[in-house]
């Protein structure tokens, strides 16, 4: 310090000699400049550091934004398509070309950009027929038609995309007529149709004649090793329905499930896997009463869930689950209920991209719903006229509507995160293929029709589980150790212990995690009974050592100085551990009957996983012990000396003083130590990543693993597309982690500061 002062003194002299006033001015200038720099730098850093929370939150926030829609184009189709009645519409991927199927057996293409007519293709074989029923597949390009005289037609649309040299995109629409045939020899009107191709590209076509008779036309490819592949044709009548009772039909993409809705509110579920022998699996009431007719049926992408719309405007989803009581092992149940429309549901159109669908009402109102979240994303209305048809665009970012007056309206839809609501993130949701509503985290699957499951509850439970096992291991050890170090140990011992514990705190968690996963987990599986024994034998060893140490002085001239007990305790512990491991197999034989894993399975119905909560608890305990220890020890040692001295002077023993004076005074500090340890355990990533199996399960068994919020982020964020739903959900879990730890730490910090003040006052 003296040297520094001298230097400054020299500097001042130097300044005085050479520059005088200007030096002074410069000093003041520098002073001001420094002030500005420090102020702005300091404040900017603080803002930046605190801005982390804001940013993480900001990235997650758009999850809660609703969807947006905009009426993009409106045109009158009757001006473009003259003398023909449009029945069905569709749109291409780029939302530039619309197609219209009309009653005079034509398909007309309209350029939506220029509102102009492109071309009309008439369906060969149905030239003079009148089409009265139409259907469109999920993919948007497969069209089935039925005529007033018992004929059906199957069509496929193609949109060929070419790019010109200039980069301009040219879309050329084409229609391929696949098949036209007569299904009803009596030439009655085909009033409802449903047309699909199965995975073999073989057609199945369900046609309803006169609303009363259901005819299934299908082809099946027969493969055999010996003969060449043959295509078999079937024409089957399905079921026996009363006059005018069928009000809606739907076929799935595998051509296996045929759904029939009737005017008395029933749903008939037929399996048409065997094309010549349709089987009725279930008949179930899907509306409120037998007076309410089913008006629209449609499968959602994946063909697991059927959306049912009725006359009263109710929209619900029905799903097939396993059922022991049913003969065929399946039954349909209602999984979700959506906002009702104010009038009869005329049309349901599923999205070809995700689990959204459109329900259109007679009064011209369109609801865009999402299956998983049960959320009505949008309520659209361009005209209050009955809707003839609605089609989702292939990319699900637009919808085309055909009204009764033959006018068309196109909506642009922006719905980035339709599957997220508070309920899907934190509540139980009934997912497709599940027997009941559950908390599930499964962010991605192998197929396009996968239903993402974003429940954070299993992850939060996993986080708390890991933290719990870490803390029940760490708290006693750290507290006892800190108490011993601060109150009973000799200063010379203390000077060794404290740096050792600091080194323990500095160990990178990747090291602990690696040892836990690769060394401890396989070892523990072998010696678990011995490890259980350690907890019983080691304390006994230490107590035994204590009593011996009381006797030893009488035998030999040796006395253990107070404060040096640890020198004896460590070897005793080691001996205790060695004996426990040695006795482990006998212990296992006696208590668990030979194999503890077998015993766990039979007695507790628990499966022992190698990387389980015990391993995590031990490893994370390793990381948490030094933190709790250090803070505890700090607050215990800073209990004012005069308090302990007074207690000892009054005749209290070391232990009584520690228990009655030191511990109560420092208890807030111990609380804050535990809180900070808790915060560390919540956010620990590498240890859980390496020491658990990372399966997001919901249970508290110590013998299996978990997936925590932090490990989940580390595992999934590299694959999450920027600003996609998964990305934002992971940011949401980061926000949760941030908030949890921040609050816990703040509470601890405030308590600690109060305590410090208290000690200063005492």
């Amino acid at each position: 310090m003296h040297k520094l002062k001298d230097q400054q003194g020299q500097d001042n002299n130097h300044n005085n000699k050479t520059s005088g006033r200007s030096g002074h001015r410069r000093a003041i200038f520098y002073d001001k400049a420094a002030k500005i720099i420090i102020l702005s730098g300091g404040i900017a850093t603080i803002i930046a550091v605190l801005g982390i929370l804001a940013f993480v939150f900001y990235e997650a926030y758009p999850l809660w934004f609703g969807s947006k829609a905009e009426l993009d184009t409106k045109l009158d189709a009757s001006e473009i398509i003259v003398n023909r009645q449009p029945l069905l519409i569709g749109i291409d991927e780029y939302q530039e070309i619309a197609y219209v199927v009309t009653d005079s057996a034509t398909i007309d293409f309209i350029d939506l950009k220029r509102n102009s007519f492109i071309k009309s293709i008439s369906i060969a074989g149905l030239e003079d027929e009148k089409i009265i029923s139409v259907s469109r597949s999920l993919s948007n390009y497969l069209i089935g038609v039925g005529t007033a005289s018992g004929k059906i037609g199957m069509l496929k649309l193609n949109f060929t995309i070419r790019f010109l040299q200039t980069g301009e995109r040219i879309i050329e629409p084409e229609a391929e007529i696949q098949n036209v045939l007569l299904v009803d020899s009596l030439k009655r009107a085909v009033t409802k149709v449903a047309y699909r191709l199965d995975y073999d590209s073989q057609p199945s076509f369900a046609a309803v004649v006169n609303d009363s008779e259901l005819i299934l036309y299908s082809q099946q490819r027969k493969r055999s090793l010996l003969e060449p592949t043959q295509v078999q044709e079937f024409l089957t009548t399905v079921g026996d329905f009363p006059q005018n009772s069928i009000s809606a039909i739907e076929l799935d993409d595998f051509c296996e499930k045929l759904m029939i809705g009737t005017t008395d509110g029933n749903l008939y579920y037929y399996s048409v896997k065997a094309k010549d022998k349709p089987v009725l699996i279930q008949k179930i009431m899907v509306t409120e009463s037998n007076k309410t007719s089913v008006t629209a049926l449609s499968f959602i992408i994946g063909d697991q869930t059927l959306i049912v719309g009725d006359e009263k405007g109710n929209v619900s989803s029905w799903m097939r689950i396993l059922d022991d009581k049913s003969v065929y092992g399946w039954k349909m149940v209602r999984s979700h209920k959506f906002n009702s429309l104010s009038s009869s549901v005329t049309q349901i159109s599923p999205s070809p991209r995700n689990k959204s669908f459109i329900a259109a009402g007679k009064d011209g109102i369109i609801n865009v719903n999402h299956l998983t979240s049960e959320r009505t994303l949008l309520e659209l209305s361009a005209k209050s006229l009955p809707i003839k048809d609605v089609a989702f665009s292939p990319k699900s970012n637009g919808a085309l509507v055909l009204y009764e007056d033959n006018s068309l309206a196109k909506f642009e839809i922006e719905s980035p995160h339709p599957e997220i609501t508070l309920k899907t993130v934190f509540g139980k949701v009934w997912y497709e293929g599940y027997q009941k509503p559950e908390f599930v985290w499964q962010s991605s699957g192998g197929t396009d029709d996968f239903e993402p499951k974003f429940s954070l509850i299993p992850l939060i439970v996993g986080t708390l589980k890991g933290t719990f096992y870490a803390l029940i291991f760490a708290i006693p050890i750290a507290l006892l150790g800190a108490l011993y170090t601060s109150s009973f140990s000799h200063p010379r011992i203390k000077n060794i212990i404290k740096p050792t514990v600091e080194i323990m705190a500095a160990l990178p968690s990747v090291v602990i995690g690696f040892l836990a996963g690769l060394w401890l987990a396989p070892l523990l599986e072998k010696i678990l009974p011995g490890v259980i024994l350690i907890f019983i034998l080691s304390p006994l060893m230490v107590f035994g050592g204590f009593f011996l140490s009381k006797k030893i002085p009488q035998w030999m001239n040796f006395k253990l100085k107070p404060g040096f007990e640890i020198i004896l305790i460590v070897p005793l512990l080691l001996i205790g551990i060695q004996i426990s491991l040695w006795l482990g197999p006998f212990f296992e034989q006696v208590v668990f009957g030979g194999d503890y894993r077998q015993w766990l399975l039979s007695a507790l119905n628990e499966q022992y996983d190698q990387r389980n909560s015990i391993v995590v608890g031990f490893a994370m305990g390793f990381a948490v012990i030094p933190i709790i220890f250090t803070i505890c020890e700090d607050s215990l040692s800073s209990v004012p000396q005069h308090l302990t001295s007074a207690s000892l002077a009054l005749g209290a023993t070391r232990w009584q003083t520690a228990l009655r004076v030191v511990l109560p005074t420092a208890s807030p500090g111990i609380f804050s130590a535990i809180m900070i340890g808790f915060g560390r355990a919540i956010g620990e990533t590498m240890i859980v990543l390496m020491a658990t199996g990372n399966t997001p399960i919901m249970d508290f068994s110590p013998f299996n693993g978990m997936r925590t919020l932090s490990a989940n982020i580390a595992v999934e964020i590299p694959e999450a597309p920027y600003h996609g739903t998964l990305y934002r959900v992971l940011f949401l879990s980061a926000t949760l982690l941030f908030i949890m730890t921040f609050f816990v730490n703040t509470a601890a910090e405030i308590v600690r500061q109060r305590l410090r003040k208290k000690f200063m006052d005492v």
Binding site: D31, I477, L507, V510, F543, G683, I717
Partner: protein
């Protein structure tokens, strides 16, 4: 007895139990890692095992354990048997390199003097016996006296050739490739700039393309040089036999080293250990990171920590100065202080997520759009890199530096400051000449602790730019020398990756322990330095600390 309960003497022993467990845990961990890590460089003897069924195995014992009683037949349940794990190498011949052998199945064991271990560039180790050395297909004299010296001589020769090839490939061809890549990007940039009117830039592009062809020519000559070198090297081979008598000709070019552990003297063992350590620290990894060294990981870790320090010190010190010297001490500053303190407890993965979202996607993505639109959609800055990782870690360690600096500032007695001000110094002069020099050890402590934390952190790095194998270091001889957009390797991630993602975990285990040992050594060294500095500092200001 009663007395001990009453006085509580026994409970003191009970509390000691907690401390004892902690001490055993930490020392056990260090010992465990040290013992396992030493396997990496200690040359274990080669054992020749003849099994009762006549199979002959040759290898090094890697582990010995008791046979689990569930694997024993009923009548032997009460016996204890051992089994050994042998590293038998020769992966390309037998398809595995580790095998468990039960004690009961062993008929005979011996330690043949002439058994050799050949470390190769691919397929792992070879265990066997050397039969003859061939040069250009001709057998070289097989007189015992000169045998090993001939082999050593040839090995030196081939390793020199390999080094030369490596040097040409790494530096010269690497440079050429880099320049060609730069030219390609330049062309892309021009094409992007003159979109739609390419003819205007045609001459410029043609010029650049000409340069590329020139470089291509240069590349071809270099390639030719490499090819001729390797064809010379390929002439030297060694014919070996395995324990079961299969003959195998190994080109010397693919041999790293040959040694016979069973006849090693004490000094040659030391030499071997030194060579292994040298290889570990200064060479690149081979065989998907399970063999060779960790030099790129050490380099990446050090460079990342240094970059982090450059970012964290000025801002940390500025903030601490502001909080302690300039800001009005009140509720506001107290709140900020608590908030900053608590950031130290925010999970590191949250910082990682922030780094990914803010630095990589937002800042990096914006830079790409503004300055490198021609390279899109392949990102330049909009992907993980050493700069982003360092900045993320700088944020993570900022609280450590701020808190340490603040503590150091607070520990300086008021009197010193006041006497400076009383002498007419301005506030800044006081800070610069009096306060900061006195606080330097404290700041240094904070920095060292931050470095230790940064060196050991893995989770945030995993998502901001660490890779398992980086093709090139972030620092090389190509302008602008520092390539801060490059991905890098890191010791901590190396442990995770090799230990958990490696296809051959058994073979990788010694490597992981060794890397762990190195990382712990680094972190502990930094921490001890910080502790020593802090202890000195405490002594100096003993009167004023709380």
């Amino acid at each position: 007895m009663k007395k001990s309960f009453k006085s509580g003497e026994i409970f003191i022993w009970f509390t000691g139990l907690g401390l004892g467990v902690s001490l055993i845990m930490i020392s056990g961990l260090l010992v465990l890692i040290f013992i396992n890590g030493s396997d990496y460089f200690l040359p274990a003897s080669v054992i020749n095992v003849t099994k009762t069924d006549g199979t002959v195995l040759l290898g090094q014992i890697t582990r010995t354990e008791e046979v689990s009683k569930y694997d024993l037949p009923e009548e032997l349940k009460d016996e204890t048997y051992k089994r050994i794990q042998l590293k038998t190498g020769n992966r390309e011949i037998q398809g595995f390199d580790f095998i468990w052998v039960d004690e009961r199945d062993i008929r005979e064991t011996k330690y043949p003097e002439d058994a050799v271990v050949i470390e190769r560039l691919e397929f792992g180790n070879f265990y066997g016996f050397i039969k003859e050395i061939k040069v250009n297909g001709k057998v070289k004299p097989d007189s015992d006296a000169t045998f090993s010296s001939i082999l050593t001589g040839y090995l030196n020769k081939t390793s020199n050739i390999r080094k030369e090839i490596n040097a040409v490939e790494k530096s010269e061809i690497g440079n050429l490739n880099y320049q060609i890549e730069q030219l390609r990007l330049k062309i892309k940039k021009i094409e992007y700039k003159y979109r739609g009117r390419e003819e205007q830039a045609a001459s410029e592009i043609r010029l650049l393309e000409q340069q590329i062809t020139e470089f291509d020519e240069a590349y071809k000559t270099l390639r030719h040089k490499v090819d001729s070198l390797s064809s010379i090297g390929k002439k030297f081979t060694v014919v070996c036999t395995t324990a079961s008598g299969i003959e195998k000709e190994i080109p010397l070019m693919s041999i790293v080293r040959v040694y016979s552990p069973n006849e090693m003297t004490f000094f040659s063992q030391i030499g071997f250990i030194a060579a292994k350590l040298w290889e570990f620290v200064f060479e690149e990894p081979r065989e998907s990171n399970t063999e060779g060294g960790v030099f790129p990981a050490i380099f990446g870790t050090v460079m990342m920590v240094l970059l982090m320090s450059i970012a964290v010190v000025p801002f940390g010190v500025l903030t601490a100065l502001y909080l302690r010297e300039y800001a009005k001490q009140g509720a506001m500053v107290r709140t900020v202080r608590i908030a900053v303190n608590n950031l130290a407890g925010v999970p590191s993965i949250v910082f990682g997520v922030f780094g990914l979202g803010f630095f990589i996607y937002f800042v990096g993505g914006t830079i790409d759009q503004l300055f490198f639109p021609e390279r899109l959609p392949s990102p330049t800055w909009g992907t993980g890199g050493i700069l982003w990782a360092s900045l993320t870690l700088a944020l993570l360690t900022m609280p450590v530096v701020i808190v340490a600096t603040e503590e150091a500032l607070a520990a300086i007695p008021r009197g010193i400051r006041e006497s400076s001000l009383a002498l007419g110094a301005t506030k800044w002069q006081t800070i610069r000449r009096i306060v900061l020099p006195a606080a330097t050890p404290g700041i240094l402590t904070g920095l060292i602790l931050a470095m230790a934390r940064g060196a050991g952190e893995v989770a945030p790095l995993m998502i901001t730019g660490v890779v398992k194998l980086a093709p090139s270091l972030p620092l090389d001889s190509n302008f602008p020398f520092f390539h801060l957009d490059r991905k890098f390797m890191h010791l901590g991630f190396h442990i995770y990756d090799v230990g958990f993602q490696s296809p051959n975990v058994e073979a990788a285990t010694p490597m992981v322990y060794m890397t762990t040992l190195l990382l712990i050594f680094l972190v502990v060294l930094l921490n001890i330095t910080a502790m020593v500095i802090r202890a000195r500092l405490r002594k100096k200001y003993k009167s004023s600390t709380f």
